[in-house]
């Protein structure tokens, strides 16, 4: 019990530290003046995001622990079976999952601002050139709790954009489809959540 409580405290401390790491540089950039309301809102948005991601991971880890562990194997059918079983069990565990569960309005705003800061202006052209050719079809179906299509490639996300977003645990990753930001469960290949119109339009 005591250990559990300590782990929980550690988790919360880590979460706060993580959020500060992401937000502090932006706040420091505005030194000389008190951090604006927008910055504080973004900080709160990212803190909320990290907490919601952690909540998802608790569920995901619980579900995965009920399956045989996926280890490197010569048999691709083992990899596919694990991915499919994990996806099915997560879908069952979050039957009412919907857009905005993790990317809440406040979270979306924070990501929109971070994306604009990283990709807006003169940097936009080179970032688009990096992301676009060979990118997934921007009109592909993006539905929470469904699979990222097997036949679609992934967008290479500019390092600058990844640096502007909160870091993620290894189980999940950001994906970009057109202007939409996706939170992907990499092992099950499920779309955990989808946030539309986050990336700035091509200039």
């Amino acid at each position: 019990m005591r250990t559990k409580c300590w782990i929980r405290c550690q988790g919360v401390t880590g979460l706060v530290a993580l959020s500060l790491c992401v937000v502090a540089p932006r706040m420091l950039a505005g030194l000389g003046a008190a951090p604006g309301k927008a910055q504080a809102d973004d900080a709160a948005g990212f803190t909320e995001f990290s907490a919601r991601v952690q909540a998802y991971l608790r569920l995901q880890r619980t579900v995965e622990s009920s399956l045989p562990a996926l280890k490197p194997t010569d048999l691709p059918e083992m990899i596919t079976a694990h991915q499919e079983a994990l996806a099915r069990k997560i879908q069952e565990a979050r039957p009412k999952a919907k857009e905005g569960d993790i990317f809440t309005p406040a979270v979306r705003e924070a990501f929109r601002h971070a994306s604009q800061a990283a990709l807006g202006g003169p940097r936009s052209a080179s970032s688009r050139a990096y992301m676009q050719p060979g990118a997934p079809n921007p009109r592909m179906r993006l539905e929470v709790n469904s699979l990222y299509p097997d036949t679609e490639p992934v967008t290479a996300i500019p390092p600058e954009l990844l640096a502007a977003y909160p870091p993620l645990p290894v189980e999940v990753a950001y994906r970009v489809v057109g202007r939409t930001l996706v939170l992907l469960d990499v092992k099950s290949r499920l779309l955990v959540d989808v946030a539309r119109l986050i990336l700035p339009p091509p200039s």
Binding site: P72, I79, A129, T151, P159, L162, Y174
Partner: protein, 320 residues
């Protein structure tokens, strides 16, 4: 100002001409004892006949140049992530090599699924990026789809830990330098990776993504190759530029490398067995350049200049 700009171009052209004068006939792998021998393939996982023919050509080449392992530059499986895709796009085309005990060390391309890292024959051991050592060569296999701060920090720590005495070879999917029309250079990635490569003395970088073969004149002392045509091909897509040392975009190809002492021998062979490029890179250990950011951390300095370095032996490539 204009004259200053023209001079390096003339110098580049002259040096290129001189270095290109040694043709394939002069080239031979030394096959030295304890050398590191490998093959390089990229963008290969189509499961179609040209990929199979490249695989067959690799088997044929291995009879005279017994490479021990293969690095793949991503897009290992184009068609999907079902067991049949692993079979069709990888296990079948390279069956003879796999049966002979040749190891593959893969990275992920934009068409790959992250779970490929659990496929044992790719030797990724469940990781998106990893490092390993063969003889006196450190290999750094990166995930260029997702170059987040965590991976950048990991790379820097690994490059630093690798020290200065051995070769450092990085490989990943998106090319930092490319003269191909379809994708071209990944400028955003270059901004993040090139300073690390220069600072920590990376010698050679391999990438794919553009479905052509291209050898780039050294950039800030680093040698870049694109080999993205081992299965897919964008014929005629290369637009040779001032950075192009050699290009080949009319057929599929693969590379073979031998690293012996301070020399790296390379040969690029087409699907039909024609040698399209070859040469030697000589690694020189030089004192640290003054005034270059972070260079003081690296004993093995790389000249912070663009274009071929006259004090390196450089390439003996086949003329275009």
């Amino acid at each position: 100002m204009r004259r200053r700009g023209v001079f390096p171009l003339i110098l580049l052209a002259v040096v290129t001409l001189v270095l290109s004068s040694s043709g394939a006939a002069d080239f031979a792998f030394p096959l030295q004892v304890n050398s590191v021998r490998l093959a390089v393939i990229g963008d290969m996982g189509t499961g179609k006949q040209p990929q199979i023919e490249v695989g067959q050509q690799m088997v044929k080449a291995r009879a005279t140049f017994p490479f021990e392992f293969v690095i793949t530059l991503g897009d290992n499986l184009y068609t999907g992530s079902q067991p049949s895709d692993f079979e069709k796009d990888f296990a079948v085309p390279y069956k003879a090599l796999l049966d002979a005990g040749v190891q593959f060390y893969a990275v992920l391309g934009n068409h790959d699924k992250t779970n490929e890292r659990f496929y044992k024959p790719f030797n990724m051991n469940g990781a998106n990026y990893y490092t390993y050592r063969k003889g006196r060569v450190h290999f750094f296999a990166l995930d260029s789809n997702y170059m987040d701060p965590k991976q950048v920090a990991w790379l820097e720590s690994q490059l630093r830990a690798a020290g200065n005495g051995d070769w450092k070879v990085c490989y990943f999917h998106h090319a930092l330098y490319s003269s191909a029309k379809f994708h071209g250079p990944a400028m955003d990635l270059r901004k993040v990776l090139e300073p690390l490569f220069v600072t920590y003395g990376v010698d050679v970088v391999f990438a794919g993504h553009d479905h052509v073969y291209e050898r780039i004149h050294p950039q800030q002392g680093v040698y870049y190759f694109t080999e993205g045509a081992s299965g897919s091909l964008r014929a005629g897509n290369l637009r040779p530029s001032a950075i192009t040392a050699k290009g080949f975009d009319s057929d599929r190809s693969f590379m073979m490398i031998e690293i012996a002492g301070d020399d790296l021998y390379f040969q690029t062979t087409s699907r039909t067995g024609v040698v399209v490029d070859s040469g030697v890179i000589h690694r020189t250990i030089r004192p640290v350049s003054e005034g270059v950011a972070h260079q003081s951390e690296s004993r093995r300095g790389q000249a912070p200049v663009k274009g071929p370095e006259p004090n390196r032996r450089g390439f003996g490539g086949v003329p275009n």
